[in-house]
């Protein structure tokens, strides 16, 4: 049976699902050269593109800010990280959606690095949003590649930037313990808002 768990509240949603995607499948992505594929096989954190946008099913793209995300992850002091991006210069393109939601490029991560990567992405979110962090929204997808059970798990989070880190860590803990349930944390009510 396919694994799938989700939690939703009035502010956001988190979904954990089994997936066929992994570091191995993305490192031989058809849109890149063989030389680059060899490079990507060494990575344990891969930034991967979205494929398909509306009626353009073959469009391969990254969200705005991917350049900064790559730089931020590569500059992280954690030596165990080998970060790469599943794109070469001739094919790399970004979509600027102009809606005020921070969309983080999809990450495929060796499962044992997931807590570190979640913390690094959280720091990136704080840097990107600055003072908008308190009220900002974020969309992020992380694939945990080949977990100890042999399957890969995709975690998709859409909700307040402020609860991203705790929600993702709760999800990782739930996977680790096999509790099978998650609960999305809530932010406190904003100033001036009353029921």
């Amino acid at each position: 049976m396919t694994f799938s768990v989700e939690s939703e509240n009035r502010e956001g949603k988190i979904v954990l699902q089994e997936t066929d995607e992994s570091l191995a499948t993305w490192s031989c992505f058809s849109g890149i050269s063989e030389t680059l594929q060899d490079e990507l096989r060494k990575a344990n954190v891969l930034i991967v593109p979205h494929v398909g946008y509306g009626s353009r099913e073959d469009l391969v793209y990254f969200p705005r800010g991917t350049e900064e995300l790559l730089s931020s992850l590569r500059n992280a002091s954690d030596a165990s990280l080998d970060v790469d991006i599943c794109a070469d210069d001739s094919t790399y393109q970004e979509i600027d959606l102009h809606s005020d939601i921070l969309r983080i490029a999809q990450l495929v991560v060796a499962h044992f690095l997931s807590p570190v990567v979640v913390d690094l992405v959280s720091t990136f979110i704080k840097q990107q949003l600055g003072r908008r962090f308190v009220n900002g929204k974020v969309i992020s997808t992380i694939v945990l590649s080949e977990t100890p059970t042999g399957r890969s798990i995709k975690i998709r989070y859409e909700g307040p930037a402020a609860t991203y880190q705790s929600a993702l860590h709760d999800a990782l803990e739930s996977l680790r313990t096999g509790s099978g349930s998650i609960e999305l944390p809530e932010t406190t009510a904003r100033d001036g808002e009353t029921a």
Binding site: E67, I85, Q93, I95, H98
Partner: protein
């Protein structure tokens, strides 16, 4: 004008003397001169500080301009000016922080957001752009994802903000959104003369601005929902949708209560408003 004099003048913003453009131009020219000197000496730290001062001056000027536009009832123009302020504050945020808010930038950020909440704009155009080729504003090279030029977007180099310049793109679609990243694209209907029709109700913005004596009088707003008298909705038939927006029929909803549940804004003026400011009852879907 030396840098100390520049900072002292910027800290005097509440006297808003540089809505006199001659004063603003003098400060701007002095900052530019000091910045050129710092870059010549390769003093990156001073050049960055001067960029901060230049941006603070810009933010102050545009905020004061927005207030003037609001006072003149040029609401859409003021909205766009406030958007410029918000964007510039976002750039500054990463590089400048002042505990005592001596240049009033924190005040401006807070109050810009508050002015925006007063507006009746809730739907915006939003283009989705596919960026195919992007240039670095510092070195002019085409951005390479695998071999980056080393200039980080949002950082300051030689006293200039590093940004990305889109040189080749496709427009994928234009959407309608409620939360745009840039707020310029307000929806207007088109009038017979081809220009926009200002069909929005700016009563609340007008009320707040009339209650302020200076652009730096602090104020705040809180939103609740209260029941408004049915007499305000005498034009609504009992079989019509309820004015509270529940989607139910009026007769089956608020008509059974003591009033219609609608948004209620409470404005708090820290400096007492002019005595001739009339009392105000406000109600609209928010």
């Amino acid at each position: 004008m030396n840098v100390e004099r520049i900072t002292a003048t910027l800290a005097d913003v509440t006297k808003h003397q540089w809505r006199d453009s001659r004063v603003a131009n003098r400060i701007k020219a002095a900052i530019e001169k000091h910045k050129r000197d710092a870059v010549t000496r390769d003093d990156q730290s001073t050049a960055k500080w001067l960029w901060c001062l230049e941006t603070i001056l810009y933010i102050q000027q545009e905020y004061l301009r927005a207030f003037e536009e609001l006072q003149g009832d040029h609401y859409h123009k003021a909205w766009c000016t406030l958007e410029k302020v918000e964007i510039a504050c976002g750039f500054l945020d990463r590089h400048f922080h002042s505990e005592d808010d001596r240049y009033k930038t924190d005040f401006i950020v807070r109050h810009t957001e508050r002015y925006q909440t007063l507006y009746p704009y809730h739907l915006f155009y939003s283009p989705a752009l596919l960026k195919k080729k992007v240039k670095c504003s510092i070195c002019g090279s085409i951005v390479s994802i695998r071999n980056p030029c080393g200039h980080v977007k949002g950082e300051i180099y030689n006293g200039e903000l590093c940004s990305r310049v889109i040189v080749e793109f496709d427009v994928l679609e234009v959407s309608l959104v409620t939360n745009p990243v840039q707020k310029y694209s307000v929806l207007f209907t088109k009038g017979n003369n081809g220009g926009p029709v200002h069909h929005y109700d700016y009563t609340l913005v007008h009320y707040v601005v009339k209650g302020l004596r200076t652009p730096f009088d602090p104020w705040d707003i809180s939103w609740t929902r209260i029941r408004h008298p049915h007499s305000l909705y005498s034009h609504v038939a009992s079989s019509d949708p309820c004015p509270c927006g529940s989607g139910k029929c009026y007769a089956d909803c608020c008509l059974q209560e003591e009033g219609v549940l609608r948004p209620h804004a409470r404005v708090h003026f820290s400096i007492p408003p002019p005595e001739d400011l009339p009392p105000f009852i406000y109600s609209r879907t928010r």
